[in-house]
């Protein structure tokens, strides 16, 4: 019996991978961001009242006929091209027959032996090393409805007395992206999904929100003994498929758990059962999803209600020409042109400011480093304080660019720049208007500044004497006194220079 956790304690992950090599493949479903469904005109908005975005076609009512959404095909082609796939010049949809209430037709329109896109790849970087993940296929299909299971424990299907189905999601266009079994670690599995998500986001063909289910991942994992030096690789072991992983972290954790679980079974001389499994995020474990259902027998056949797709080379070339800059190329460019490090790019992306930083540089920021600094250190923090996205802050990249120019030119200190940001965010106008309105410019007027310097020296003759005696570091309190007298509206470096000059030490 080897569907549950093995009897003996699980080995540590490090112990497991020392002896076994994981072989991992990923299947990712992405909901395409079309306005209407794959085969009918129903809207696709997330979160609508149940069964308010349904019609005879997506409910599978008799006499209805599906018609393919042109944009869904185009989006799928863009994904295939971005993944370096070949685009089939001719392909068909197929019926996948199965009896389950999430599809009202009792079949799902999908593709079977004639996928739209085949034979591509995606490069994934983990800790400076590039891993090329082969893409077996990208095919089109329709999403299923959502079920609520009633009467069992915490909404689980097991033990439920009945289920309630909402078909708003049924018929939303999906692509399924299937990799070769090329992935060898949970970290690369996670990085692959992350990179795929960035790629699709860059294409603008899906909102790829894992938490809303618009990107969902199934992970196939098996183990094989690591070969002795000089020996060929062992054949692949029996795999399990862990379904519906809905965060990057879950992808990594679920695969990690499967590796230790399978290692323990193999250590005990047991066989792995090929099955689907579910990941329990709370417990960090997978469990068998096996039921007494018969072996799957989907009886695929070409969908007679839809005409074949015949995409000309001209059409595919047009789509290729329409591809935007893709994330890997963009990263290379930002590093080469702006001097960012790979780490900077990860930080900016994670903070949600990468686009904004780039726009700020384009808007004439004093330097790429300054644009990065103000968005990452100051504005991202302010956004997270208010629970907003940085892009939703009431400050534009042009405003931030202007602020960096004022700081670089000595007209604002960092402290004053923060007050300017306060003013812009409060709706007081552009940075220049806030500077004027609040009187925030650094005082460069020698009269006021000289008077403050003289007053500071007169107020602390002992310190002044030390500085005159050569202890330049002692000048700090005098700088502080001048800054206080100037209400912060002076540049500390300038003040220090003036003090030292006055004290005859510069």
């Amino acid at each position: 019996m080897s569907t549950a956790a093995p009897a003996s304690a699980l080995p540590s992950y490090d112990d497991a991978i020392a002896r076994y090599e994981p072989v991992i493949g990923l299947e990712t479903h992405v909901e395409l961001g079309t306005v209407s469904k794959m085969f009918c005109g129903c809207a696709t908005a997330f979160g609508a009242e149940p069964n308010t975005q349904v019609c005879p076609v997506c409910l599978g009512l008799p006499g209805s006929l599906p018609v393919v959404n042109e944009a869904a095909v185009r989006f799928a082609v863009l994904i295939g091209l971005a993944l370096h796939c070949e685009i089939a010049p001719w392909c068909r949809f197929a019926r996948k027959n199965y009896f389950y209430p999430d599809m009202p037709k009792n079949y799902q329109i999908s593709q079977y032996d004639e996928p739209l896109c085949t034979n591509g790849w995606l490069d994934v970087e983990v800790e400076g090393e590039i891993h090329r993940v082969g893409i077996t296929r990208v095919h089109m299909e329709e999403d299923t409805g959502k079920s609520l299971h009633v009467g069992g424990a915490t909404g689980r299907i097991h033990g439920a007395t009945h289920s309630l189905v909402d078909y708003n999601r049924a018929g939303i266009p999906l692509v399924e992206i299937v990799t070769e079994p090329d992935v060898r670690s949970p970290e690369v599995a996670r990085a692959y999904v992350d990179e795929l998500r960035e790629l699709i986001r860059a294409l603008g063909v899906s909102d790829v929100r894992m938490e809303q289910g618009s990107l969902r991942c199934d992970a196939n994992a098996s183990l094989r003994l690591r070969p002795a030096p000089g020996e060929p690789d062992a054949p692949f072991g029996t795999r399990t498929e862990t379904k519906n992983l809905n965060s990057l972290r879950s992808v990594e954790r679920a695969v990690r758990y499967e590796i230790t679980r399978q290692a323990a079974l193999l250590d005990d001389g047991e066989r792995i059962i090929q099955e689907t499994r579910h990941f329990d995020e709370g417990a960090g474990r997978t469990s068998s999803g096996r039921s007494k259902e018969e072996a799957t027998d989907y009886r695929y056949f070409p969908e007679p209600d839809l005409t074949p797709l015949e995409l000309s080379a001209e059409y595919v070339d047009e789509q290729r020409a329409a591809l935007p800059e893709l994330p890997a190329a963009r990263r290379a460019r930002l590093i080469a042109e702006h001097g960012y490090t790979a780490r900077d790019l990860v930080d900016m992306r994670n903070a949600g400011v990468l686009d904004l930083v780039e726009q700020t540089v384009a808007a004439g920021a004093a330097s790429p480093a300054a644009a990065r600094k103000w968005w990452l250190n100051e504005l991202a923090r302010r956004a997270s304080d208010t629970g907003a996205a940085p892009a939703d802050l009431a400050i534009t990249p042009a405003d931030v660019a202007r602020i960096t120019v004022l700081v670089a030119g000595g007209e604002l200190t960092d402290a004053l720049a923060r007050k300017v940001i306060d003013g812009v965010l409060a709706g007081e106008g552009t940075p220049d208007e806030v500077v004027a309105g609040r009187g925030l410019a650094v005082v460069a007027d020698d009269g006021a500044l000289t008077a403050a310097v003289d007053a500071a020296i007169a107020g602390a003759p002992d310190i002044a004497e030390k500085v005159r005696g050569g202890k330049l570091n002692a000048v700090g309190p005098l700088v502080g006194a001048v800054m206080k007298a100037m209400k912060g509206q002076a540049d500390a470096a300038t003040v220090r220079g003036l003090l030292l000059e006055r004290l005859g030490t510069s």
């Binding site: 079309t34 306005v35 209407s36 009918c40 005109g41 129903c42 809207a43 009242e49 149940p50 069964n51 308010t52 975005q53 349904v54 019609c55 005879p56 409910l59 009512l61 018609v67 393919v68 959404n69 042109e70 944009a71 869904a72 095909v73 010049p89 001719w90 068909r92 027959n97 009896f99 389950y100 209430p101 009202p104 004639e114 079920s147 609520l148 299971h149 009633v150 299907i157 097991h158 033990g159 439920a160 007395t161 009945h162 289920s163 309630l164 189905v165 909402d166 078909y167 039921s291 007494k292 018969e294 070409p302 007679p304 839809l306 005409t307 074949p308 797709l309 015949e310 995409l311 000309s312």
Partner: protein, 113 residues
């Protein structure tokens, strides 16, 4: 002008005869309750139907691809424009049971699963 049909299939499509077990399997896949007497009656009937259709294979040479579509059309698309859906009450009107605006369906798994 591109191709007008799918690639040729790999082998002949001979109907080997349909067994009682195959009818029972199909009935299970279709969630149909079929009695032993019906299985006995249906297997030869289905075989007769399939044999009649299979006569097409006698005239189809190896270079004739199987036909999935009766008309030589490709690329029938609709623009990505949302159109009004059914009111939820209408959508649910034909359902045997509904609850909370959703289609109510019987238990999916047996209690001992």
């Amino acid at each position: 002008m591109g191709r007008t049909g799918p690639p040729p299939t790999k082998g002949p499509h001979a109907i080997m005869g349909i067994t009682r077990d195959e009818v029972a399997h199909l009935a299970r896949l279709s969630r149909m309750s079929v009695t032993d007497a019906e299985l006995d009656a249906l297997a030869p009937q289905l075989e007769a139907i399939l044999s009649a259709v299979a006569r097409v294979a006698e005239v189809a040479a190896a270079d004739i691809p199987p036909t999935s579509h009766a008309v030589p059309l490709t690329n029938v698309f609709r623009p990505d424009v949302a159109r009004p859906s059914l009111p939820a009450a209408d959508a649910l009107a034909g359902a045997p049971a509904a609850e909370d605006g959703r289609f109510r369906v019987p238990r999916i798994l047996d209690p001992d699963e």
